[in-house]
Symmetry: C2
Subunit: 621 residues, 2 copies
């Protein structure tokens, strides 16, 4: 009944959708098999994309030719560039999205992708022979042959939902858990673990009093995620609101702690430390008198409201009572309580950098199943797994990004080398080369590669190349273009920066912290006219490159140095146990992870600098 597929993707969450799209775009015959076609690309938790470090990931996905950026753009109801007041390494795009629109846009996009077939059913197991995956087995017992399989089961594997002292099976509220896969994989030798995450109650926007909250507008000139011209920035936006918990709220919540599944030991899985539940926050930061609550609409028209910051698995009556003590929530009506969910994950140290498993050939894992949390983290892994599954079928080398190239690489490299004990979330601090990995240059970093592997289309490549050459030309011009003291000194004084005695190039001026292109333009009308030829993107790019030139160069030098070691490959069957000088822990970790390069070895936790020198010597460098 089914042809043999090149790639079978199990699950249509953020990871699965990107995987299916990427592999199909690259020419693979893809089956996307998911439990319910009505819940394709459901946002399980907050209706938002991007944010600090996560926004950068969305831009990278987009630069490579993935869809998360375009889908986010098409479904957004508000856009903000976070951290604008800090350096450009910190600028982070974030959108509030219409939950229903987001899912619909993804589904329609996948439907419009040639090579993606759909099958609506639960996958209950894998077909495996001779250490290689051959397809999947479904709930009604169908066997679907596939050359590669990408598992993206999210929070569904043996999912258990907790609300207070109640618990019941489920992969998300109202949806069934997936059974069978964990058990089979453990039987095949995989190690599985248990994690948890949580979500806040949903409330009825009609029951809130917004006059008691702070209003939060979107950006005045909103941008967007995608570098392509397929989408446009919003011309109209919805607002959000901010309110705060208080002592009363905290006391009410505390009154339920004895019935909390987190505190009475019923939940064993570890939760995301950086996305804690409200009870966690109160518990860990007992000194804080209030916590921020973001009141976010779920879409253009719906009255459903997402209570960001109030994730909880306390008993529903406690949730309710506490909620109503938040300013503006005095008459709040709940649509459903918050809850925590526990699910199986597979420690990602069992993967190769391509996201293929070490144990079973042609089997890939991506998303929450690898112990991560977040849509963006999931989507980016899905993208890479989809790319590498397609390339495996095409007998091409896997695509492995470098830590200096993309947050996506940092994510995957961290997962595989360090593993994770708690749901892994991306932060800018995890990246060594933050100044290289900016949201404004993801296209310059990655689109060429995306095009080369057949994912990003010609148009994307052209746009990137245009931006690159325009930027280079502009930088050169700004270096040549000199402004005379009489033209600018008055303005410079206004900007609180030193006046000049001789002509000075725009480039030089731009390196001053107080001075931006916009300010200089206002001093010289000729320049303004000249600059108006360039797009906003190019102007921004040139300014950043000029302003941060020396810092960027320094990072780049470090990268080059490291790359030398980084890329030095370790033979596949290298026998670590036979090197007595290695530390016991180093030996064990190296043997377990089996790094592909010295660079990878250097980042394994437990592998000391001493171990690394010894290894370098043994490898004859």
């Amino acid at each position: 009944m089914f042809p043999e597929y090149d790639v079978i993707v199990v699950g249509a969450g953020h990871a699965g959708c990107e995987a299916a799209h990427a592999a199909a775009k690259m020419g693979a015959k893809v089956l996307l098999c998911t439990m319910n076609m009505n819940t394709i690309a459901q946002m399980s938790c907050n209706p938002a994309m991007g944010g600090v470090a996560k926004g950068q990931i969305v831009r990278e996905i987009d630069a490579l030719g993935g869809m998360s950026g375009i889908i986010s753009d098409k479904s957004m109801i508000q856009f903000r560039m976070l951290n604008r007041s800090k350096g450009p390494a910190m600028w982070s795009p974030r959108s509030q999205n219409d939950r229903m629109r987001f899912a619909e846009e993804w589904r329609l996009a996948l439907e419009q992708t040639p090579n993606v077939d759909f099958w609506q059913e639960m996958v209950s197991g894998l077909l495996v022979t001779d250490g290689r995956v051959r397809g999947v087995r479904t709930g009604i017992g169908l066997e679907i042959p596939g050359k590669t399989v990408v598992l993206t089961n999210g929070t569904f594997l043996n999912g258990v939902i907790h609300i207070g002292e109640k618990q019941f099976g489920g992969g998300r509220t109202g949806e069934s858990a997936a059974k069978g896969i964990t058990e089979q994989l453990v039987g095949l030798g995989f190690e599985a673990g248990r994690m948890k995450t949580g979500t806040p109650p949903r409330v009825d926007g009609r029951s809130l009093d917004y006059s008691k909250m702070e209003i939060q507008f979107g950006d005045e000139n909103p941008e967007k995620f995608s570098y392509s011209d397929e989408t446009q920035p919003l011309t109209e936006q919805r607002t959000c609101w901010i309110t705060y918990t208080n002592k009363e709220v905290h006391e009410t919540l505390e009154s339920g702690f004895d019935r909390s599944p987190m505190f009475n030991g019923r939940i064993q899985g570890l939760g995301p430390r950086y996305c804690p539940s409200i009870e966690d926050k109160i518990n860990r930061f007992a000194e804080r008198e209030r916590h921020q609550i973001f009141v976010e609409p779920e879409g253009w028209n719906t009255v459903e409201i997402y209570v960001n910051g109030f994730s909880t698995s306390l008993p529903e009556d406690v949730q309710y009572k506490a909620l109503r003590k938040i300013p503006g929530f005095e008459n709040a009506k709940m649509f459903r309580p918050g809850y925590a969910i526990e699910y199986d994950f597979f420690p990602p140290t069992q993967l190769k950098l391509s996201l293929e498993t070490q144990l079973i050939q042609n089997l890939f894992f991506a998303g929450q199943i690898n112990g991560t949390t977040g849509y963006e983290e999931a989507a980016s892994q899905g993208l890479m797994a989809g790319i590498n599954a397609a390339r495996k079928v095409q007998e091409e080398e896997p695509v492995i990004l470098k830590r200096s190239e993309a947050y996506i690489a940092v994510l995957i490299d961290d997962l595989i080398n360090k593993g994770t004990e708690e749901p892994y979330r991306m932060f800018t601090s995890r990246a060594e080369f933050r100044l290289l990995l900016r949201q404004d240059n993801a296209d310059l970093r990655l689109t060429q590669l995306g095009h080369q592997i057949g994912l990003a289309d010609d148009r994307r490549l052209e746009r990137m190349l245009d931006k690159k050459s325009d930027t280079a030309k502009l930088i050169n011009d700004l270096r040549q273009k000199k402004l005379s003291p009489d033209l600018i000194n008055e303005g410079l004084e206004d900007m609180d920066t030193a006046t000049v005695k001789e002509k000075i190039s725009v480039e030089k001026l731009l390196k001053r912290p107080q001075v931006g292109l916009k300010e200089i333009m206002d001093l010289d009308n000729d320049l303004k006219v000249y600059l108006s030829k360039y797009s906003k993107d190019v102007l921004e790019q040139a300014e950043i490159q000029i302003k941060y030139d020396s810092y960027i160069e320094k990072e780049q030098q470090m990268v080059d140095k490291l790359n030398n070691m980084e890329n030095f490959r370790i033979p596949v069957h290298f026998d670590y146990l036979a090197i007595p000088a290695l530390s016991a822990e180093g030996k064990q970790k190296l043997n377990k992870v089996r790094p592909e390069t010295l660079g990878q070895a250097s980042r394994i936790s437990g592998v000391s600098p001493a171990d690394l020198s010894i290894l370098t010597v043994y490898l004859g460098r």
Copy 2:
């Protein structure tokens, strides 16, 4: 945590949505409690509304102030008035709908309805004391107090899905079955039964060859369902296609009959005779060489296709092989197989005409739970149950429509008096007074009532009253307006109808079968100008009333006669068993159904005309 609600509606299918909306509009405080807020108003089966008799029901719901008409209008992708070539009693509006849009529009409409609260959870039982319902109990053990409860569980009660020899629990594919309610109700003395229904496989539109099919366009001048001006007819439509099964298809299907759950006895519930599975059709009409298949798009943009006419629960490989032998389906790809579902229902003879149960006060049943099938049947019951639950709380008499007033009344009256052994579906033949119950006059029949009970708004009433008085004026004018032979005789000849010697009124001319208002208009420009003042609705209404005047009057006389008996009330505690002259069966049935009026008694199957005369005598008439 919850206030006491006036009306708790369990389930947000077609019945539940109408019930919640109606009760809230009438001022009741309503809680709509459903398993999954993402599946509110899901169309479980075909993405279409209306059709023969069903279209009339949608118009009636709309006339009363319900929402199904407006939602259908807002989400339709094609409209056709079926049976235009027959008499106006048979004209039946039908729309093809965008499945996702339909659900979204319903959800947003409910969200915009003040007085409707939402709770997302499975209801697992009822709170009942002293023979009266007091609220519901949810899956996590919450008790929600309610003065009345409307159960609209659809196909979810102990739902079991069958595909070939496989079977598993579920309320719809990918959704859980509901447990607990049946068992509790049986414990309380209710009789429960088992029914089944089925749905076809869904296929990928990109894999079909439409050149081998007949194309089916929407109407050239599409109309719409709602009498209100909230919606507009489509200006653009999607097309459908028609193809046919053949001997090969049938043989392939037959090869799976030994594994069919319908034929090997695994399914016990009775299915809808008039909406049979393809295996049923082949089996029952073995002489027919082909069956029609309607190929219907599921929305504006999706590639998903609904294979109308191919409902089946044969093993998926058989479905697939047979499907591919249908012209145009040679390369069809399936998204998911068809399946049958068995579920619990409660024989509706246990209800009062208000849809309240006889056993438990303030408990109402509506929709598929009453043994019906179809969205329109469900929605109309939901509407009436919602109305009557609200009225019960307001201590008002229930609204009970007459068989001569609405198809909705025919439906409910049939259910309660005759019960049903198989899923009940509406047909025009079930109505005695078809000519009165037309799709064009549902507003004239029902809007006044809808307004009086606080459901239809003032604007609706005004529109109806305008239509009514305009129609009366127009009819009168057409009676006065005489056309001279020289003006019209040539035209009459062309129409193949007798010429006239003297002036003749437009009214008289219109009574001729060959002559319509449109044709007469073309003969007299003055008339044309005069008529252009009237809306299409009024012109059509006047024409129908004039043309069918004598038939309509005859039906009306019968209705009046019957109403005399119809409305004669039987005392609530009337002791049928004490009347020896009644037939044994009559006695038993009367005692079981406990009809409220003589009219109702007359329609109970098993109550003979003789029984009726005896009863009439005993009641002193």
